[in-house]
């Protein structure tokens, strides 16, 4: 595997994560719990889709198809997003916890990518670092509110954490070129990312009175990075690409 193939593999999983979670979170638009939160969550969903476009553009520069083509014409098994991002929005407890777990991972990932030896990627990472930092502030504020709020809010957050922790760990599924990415200084690798993520999210969850499941029960649910997805991804793609499928030249 050469550098370019390794780099593309990395870029696809980053962009696909952002596009899919962005689309999922946009499903809350008009349905958010209160007006201000509805706007905040929608705005961040839009941010994610904007970030993905920048990464798809980097892929385009490396010879892949146009961003719209890449985003709207692939099937589920051609997507590299982690399974966490594709699950239905569920109740707000799940969507918020996913937002928390995902955005801290992305924040640390982009923090590292700012130093990437691949300059175009380092530039994109620098550009979006602050935006993603705000996403983590939003997520953490909510998790703290609900984790330390009422018995009901605490129990609901704890329940979601227990049920989806292993899916979240699947975000750090290693790719076929980890060593190459690390040795070339492109990215620190999924293992290191997971370690740093745990160092950040575990104390925050604890501060929010939430307990991470015991380490001996951790079994990352992987597959997303190699195109193995839950039954939820294809319906999302069908809905997301509906207009494009009717008229690929439609402009809006």
């Amino acid at each position: 595997m050469n550098n370019i193939t390794a780099l593309k593999e990395l870029l696809y999983k980053i962009a696909d994560d952002q596009l899919i979670i962005g689309h999922r979170n946009s499903e809350w638009t008009g349905l958010g719990p209160i007006l201000e939160e509805d706007i905040a969550f929608s705005s961040m969903a839009q941010d994610k889709i904007g970030q993905s476009e920048h990464i798809y553009n980097l892929l385009h520069q490396l010879g892949e198809a146009e961003p719209d083509t890449v985003a709207f014409t692939r099937n589920a098994e051609q997507f590299h997003n982690s399974q966490l991002t594709e699950l239905p929005i569920g109740e707000y407890d799940f969507s918020l916890l996913r937002h928390f777990l995902f955005d801290f991972a992305e924040y640390i990932r982009f923090g590292n990518l700012r130093e990437s030896s691949y300059q175009p990627l380092a530039q994109v990472a620098k550009k979006f670092y602050g935006e993603i930092k705000y996403h983590t502030m939003h997520a953490n504020t909510w998790i703290y509110q609900l984790g330390t709020g009422t018995q009901e809010s605490h129990d609901r957050m704890q329940n979601v954490l227990d049920n989806y922790w292993n899916t979240a760990l699947g975000m750090f599924e290693e790719g076929p070129a980890e060593e190459l990415l690390i040795s070339e200084g492109i990215f620190m690798g999924e293992k290191a990312l997971r370690g740093k993520w745990l160092e950040v999210v575990m104390p925050l969850l604890e501060k929010s009175s939430l307990k991470v499941p015991e380490a001996d029960t951790w079994e990352p649910i992987v597959g997303g990075r190699t195109g193995k997805h839950t039954e939820h991804l294809q319906p999302l793609l069908s809905e997301m690409t509906e207009v494009y499928a009717i008229d690929p030249s439609a402009d809006w």
Binding site: T29, L31, E36
Partner: protein, 139 residues
């Protein structure tokens, strides 16, 4: 309350249909009474004044800051935001607004009308240093 009305809203928008929103009365204002309003102040650049831009509705200052960011710093250049509970604001009474009634007459208090402004402007235009001699203004 919504005992008879278990029908859910059916919409062309799949998100709405998926949400299974009851078509009956669903709002429960009692759950929102602990929310308060916060006044939001926006600063464009470091060193500039914070300017009042509006309010947000939030349960506490942390959440109010998040919402202020979305509501008032989403499009504009921003250096900093303040929020303060609306209940902390003391205000004059509109009934007493006659205390301001003669203010528009007191143009002499408005520095824009000072004759010296012409000279300051001319000074700036010439890009002079404060130690330079300025010619007497024709005024």
């Amino acid at each position: 309350m919504a005992t008879e009305n278990n029908k859910t809203v059916d919409s062309l928008d799949p998100r709405i249909s998926r949400a299974k929103i009851s078509s009956g009365e669903t709002s429960d204002m009692d759950n929102l009474v602990h929310f308060q309003t916060y006044e939001v102040f926006h600063q464009k650049k470091r060193g500039a004044q914070h300017q009042h831009v509006g309010i947000v509705h939030a349960p506490n200052p942390d959440m109010a800051l998040l919402y202020a960011k979305e509501q008032y710093a989403r499009r504009e250049q921003t250096a900093n935001l303040w929020v303060a509970p609306s209940s902390c604001i003391s205000a004059t009474e509109y009934a007493d607004d006659d205390i301001f009634s003669t203010t528009p007459d007191k143009l002499y208090r408005n520095p824009a009308t000072y004759k010296v402004m012409d000279r300051i402007k001319a000074f700036k235009e010439r890009g002079m240093k404060s130690t330079d001699q300025i010619e007497k203004s024709p005024h």
